[in-house]
Amino acid sequence: MTQDYNFAYLDEQTKRMIRRAILKGLAVPGYQVPFASREMPMPYGWGTGGVQVSASILTPEDTMKVIDQGADDTTNAVSIRKFFEKTAGVATSEETSKADVIQTRHRIPEQDLREDQILVYQVPIPEPLRFLEPRETETRKMHALEEYGLMHVKLYEDISKNGAISTSYAYPVKVEGRYVMDPSPIPKFDNPKLEMAAVQLFGAGREQRIYALPPYTRVVSLDFEDYPFEPSKADHACDLCGSDTSYLDEVIMDDAGGRMFVCSDTDFCRSRRAAGHVGAQGVPFEEDAA
């Protein structure tokens, strides 16, 4: 590690401010705590909120994993992983089970997380009511008064137009029966996993909000009695590892309509293939292949 940066990039005053916001977020689960987001050496929209939260919670002994839509090897994930290798000197891993801190963009890992792990989300728009009511003064009042009728109207209009709730990602949830929260743009397939053993922290850099879910917090996806919430995924098995329970990405293969479905969680897929599972279009796993 070079000593050119303060540990984990941010100055100590900034980290204290973010740490205080994280503690209040944990004390009031689902409530968006305002914080003074800093300029980071990456543009807004590239995970500056998640990066600031991660920088404030990392310890020198941690192993970090970064995923973007489930993948460890995409630009966003690679650059953030390198950022923390350089500025915090922490170990990194692509294996979910080896990570102490996992920063994620838009997915929850397939493998269940443990009590000693921390999941940090990158959040673009933290306010679940924002597309229904653009004024911050009004949405703040709506949260204060627990006035969430508008959100149910939105879901109802989905049903009356499309015959089903068509929201498929960033599906709103209610936390401990009080705050309606945006779980960040994870697919609704991941919503049931929000009740987990690990601490979950959400950071929105541009919008300057931090919120949190302590372990085992009750998180309920909004729905109606006659139109219950349904987590959904592509009705297919992974073409590489054969898993029929994991969330899938559809990959276009050619101009003739050829396609394949593969696990969005690359570490989950790799470990299944390493264990000998082979999908319809897969080949037996070889170390360092592909």
């Binding site: 205080r20 009031v28 949190a212």
Partner: protein, 189 residues
């Protein structure tokens, strides 16, 4: 005299504060959990855990209230030198430190407002000992049930009734720390 104020800080502030915050965050995320918190050596009567918590979270933007015997020159000088936090009465504080009996009554502390519940104060209660027994706790962060030797029941039940407003508590004893956020349900006597 002067020397107690200048010594006892973090040896390597970024790394020590990061490790300390991990313990602080873990106890706040899991009410009732007791963790070890070390790094700072504050002057008596402030405990090591409370002193480490102070260095981890306090700075010029966090007004501090010291209650009872903690409101002494040694502790004031130490907090001022290491954190720069201003001192204030209970009604304007972000953090308060003291024995349970000295911190009472809870009515005077800021509890936030409906639009900004995060503006409620954090109270650091110095305890003779911490044990995972006594009052049963449930709520966010607790799988089935947890237990902690709280100094009171009714006061914490009343605090939880105000959710999402209210106070959040840390309990410190020597080098150990536990927490009770306002979201935790405290069993009736």
């Amino acid at each position: 005299m002067q020397s107690t104020a200048l010594t006892g800080g973090f040896a390597k502030a970024p790394q020590d504060a990061a490790r300390a915050f991990r313990a602080v965050m873990n106890v706040m995320a899991r009410p009732g959990l007791i963790e070890t918190l070390t790094g700072a050596k504050p002057p008596a009567p402030l405990s090591d855990a409370a002193g480490t918590l102070a260095l981890t979270l306090l700075d010029g933007s966090t007004p501090v209230h010291l209650a009872g015997a903690l409101d002494c020159k040694d502790v004031r000088d130490w907090i001022t030198f290491h954190t720069g936090a201003p001192f204030t009465g209970r009604e304007h504080c972000a953090f308060a430190f003291g024995l349970w009996s000295d911190l009472l009554p809870l009515a005077g502390y800021p509890i936030g407002n409906p639009e900004y519940p995060d503006r409620g104060a954090t109270l650091v209660v110095e305890m003779p000992a911490l044990t995972a027994s006594g009052v049963t706790l449930s709520g966010p962060g607790i799988k089935d049930a947890a237990a902690l030797n709280l100094p009171d029941r009714a006061a914490f039940r009343a605090n939880a009734m105000q959710f999402p407003l209210g106070l959040d508590f840390f309990f410190t004893s020597e080098n150990r720390i536990a927490a009770l956020p306002r979201s935790t349900k405290v069993e009736a006597a």
